[in-house]
Amino acid sequence: MARAVTSRRKIINTAAAWTVGLLIFFPILWTILTSFKTEATAIADPPVFIGFDWTLENYATVLERSDYARFLWNSIIIAGGSTILGILVAVPAAWSMAFVPSKRTKDILLWMLSTKMLPAVGVLYPIYLIFIKLGLLDSRTGLVIVLMLMNLPIIVWMLYTYFREIPGEILEAARMDGASLKEEILYVLTPMAVPGIASTLLLNFILAWNEAFWTLNLTAAKAAPLTAFIASYSSPEGLFYAKLSAASTMAIVPILILGWFSQKQLVSGLTFGAVK
């Protein structure tokens, strides 16, 4: 009896969850489907879902027009570089906040977060002028630095919350055994924090990948990532839904696949200290 009830509930749950899931995913699915249509099919009324002549011509057009590989590579370098650099700076800071807290620790943490509230447009001009002076315009180095600074508060915050969950006794024990500070961080703390660090890496990689203000405004040709690639496919002349869909698919699929494969790590670590 009880079993019957649970299995009926399970069926209802499954149906409900799948409906909601598909609904949320639908815009992405629709974009991917449209990318395989001709421009005429893309706007057909009534819309066609699967039963159309699949074509790769949009992808061919996009690949011919843009140097996709370069945009992709720039995205990887910029997102990856800024994330790794950010973690290197943030680990020691988060460590000291978590294990040697002072009265001001929380203030510093919150202040760091508040730097993210500066409106980017408001400081575009100053940053642009500084970049000209330093010769950093249209360079991946420049973007790596800016995006690292942008995401640093989030990285520090995330790492801090993971470190805090590590029981202090373990560190004490390590210290008793004569471990130096460096060893303590390297051999005791880091391994314990690996899930947290992985999750931080992933989240910030995604945030940096999707950042579209600085990446667009501080680059021209050499360092332009996928956000600039997509800016050349919005509303040109004539029908463009299918080509736009193809370009969109190419811009989001790498990160989508990364996200899907690593969702366990991302999900398990993404708490921001929300779980006690």
């Binding site: 667009l216 496919y233 509303s235 040109p236």
Partner: protein
């Protein structure tokens, strides 16, 4: 002795050519993602084959993004681009600031005298040509001959606004998703305000009087915008307040518009049977007037210019010369057919019988371009130049905000009077901030 000397010279020469071959200069080109520019990008491999020492880097962006990027870069002297694609609005302002390199020294073969006078004048400041026109356009009426016939009307070569309204009413068939008229409604100085400013000229309206006092809440503007609103609300497509050039183009190509008043370059798109379902039914007429001596047609040229901060000025000029030459036109004609060559810049093109044959819209395009007068755009005298814009740096910002007010009125969120009153206020405010 002289033997040794010449040997030296020879070695030096080889060394020179050798380094020349190695030192590839990169020319970074910022351009719009319009069809003609994308075609240019595709054909540029021919240029690179001719000039192995020049490597082209393309930054192709959507119009709004492009404009923001190049303005920012030229104003802050960022030096990121060697060739910029800009329009007739930017060229006089930037040229005056000394931000552009003069193109007066392009070669004889390039033949500056062949450029259409109206277009050439718009790109010249104090005798210096600051940009080379890539394609030029005016605006005109494009209409469906079949629908016009069904409605029992005949489009004159030079219609009036009243006729346009009559025809729009007769052609509208909302049941079958056929809308009598499609016009720009999307906010932006280059979108709805380009159309409305040109239209206002034919209604006797102007942006500023001779003392730079805005006249947006005046009678002539009110009449213009009310007429526009009436057309759009009764005979326009749904969602007109977000329709720009491209949205209307695709509506027209799908056969949903009876008439469309917009850029002359659209003529080749709507008559192209590959993209347009109504390709063989399109007729053309001059932009309408109101009997006041001015027509509602504009003048624009997408042009290539070299910013003063470029570190490859000569190479950039070489490229511009190629891309805006008669040879380039011939190249496009050979590869893609005469109907697809960039129009509206050279007299020779319009004298070419092959082009006239392939482009039924050629004559109307040329007539429209020649009919535009940037120095006397309106019925009344004005202190500015520009047909569908006012060539002052503040205009883009002002007109975009004015465009948003009118767009909101078109969406039914406020009345025409409210919109124009707000427009007047914000224009006054911006002009004051700029020190007028």
């Amino acid at each position: 002795m002289s033997h040794i000397k010449s040997l030296y010279a020879a070695t030096a020469l080889t060394a020179l050519t050798a380094t020349g071959a190695l030192a590839e200069t990169t020319v970074t080109i910022a351009t719009v993602n319009n069809g003609d520019m994308i075609r240019m990008q595709g054909l540029a491999s021919e240029f690179e084959a001719q000039h192995p020492d020049i490597k082209l880097e393309w930054v192709t962006l959507e119009e709004n993004v492009l404009r923001q990027r190049v303005t920012q870069d030229v104003a802050a002297s960022g030096g990121q681009f060697d060739v910029m694609t800009i329009g007739t609005y930017e060229v006089p302002i930037w040229g005056q600031q000394g931000w552009l390199v003069s193109l007066n020294d392009l070669s004889e073969d390039w033949d500056a005298d062949d450029l259409l006078p109206a277009i050439r004048d718009g790109l010249t400041v104090d005798g210096e040509l600051y940009a080379a026109p890539f394609y030029g356009e005016s605006s005109m009426v494009m209409y469906r001959k079949d629908l016009m016939q069904q409605a029992g009307l005949e489009m004159p070569e030079a219609p009036t606004w009243d006729f346009i309204k009559e025809a729009a009413a007769a052609m509208t068939d909302k049941e079958n998703e056929i809308y009598g008229i499609c016009l720009r409604g999307k906010a932006g100085w280059g979108e709805n305000m380009a159309f409305l400013t040109a239209m206002a000229n034919s209604f006797g309206a102007r942006w500023f009087d001779e003392d730079w006092q805005p006249e947006l809440n005046g009678e002539a503007w009110t009449e213009t915008v009310n007429f526009y609103m009436d057309l759009m609300n009764n005979y326009g497509p749904p969602g007109a307040s977000t329709n720009g050039f491209n949205e209307n183009l695709s509506l027209f190509q799908q056969g949903k518009c009876g008439m469309w008043i917009d850029a002359t370059v659209a003529a080749s798109f709507v008559t192209n049977p590959d993209d347009s379902t109504v390709a063989d039914q399109v007729g053309f007429a001059l932009a309408p007037d109101n009997g006041l001596g001015r027509r509602g047609n504009w003048l624009w040229a997408w042009s290539l210019a070299v910013p003063a901060g470029s570190d490859a000025t000569e190479e950039a000029k070489t490229f511009i010369e190629w891309a805006t030459s008669k040879e380039y036109t011939a190249l496009v004609a050979e590869k893609e057919g005469w109907a697809n060559v960039p129009p509206g810049t050279r007299t020779s093109l319009y004298e070419n019988p092959e082009y006239q044959e392939a482009a039924p819209f050629a004559e109307m395009t040329l007539g429209s371009i020649n009919a535009a007068d940037p120095t006397n755009p309106s019925v009344e005298p004005v202190p500015y130049t520009g047909v569908q814009f006012v060539a002052i740096p503040e205009f883009a910002g002002i007109a975009t905000q004015v465009g948003q007010e009118i767009s909101a009125a078109l969406a039914g969120q406020q009345s025409v009077e409210e919109a124009l009153e707000k427009a007047q206020m914000l224009t006054l405010d911006e002009m004051e901030a700029a020190g007028y």
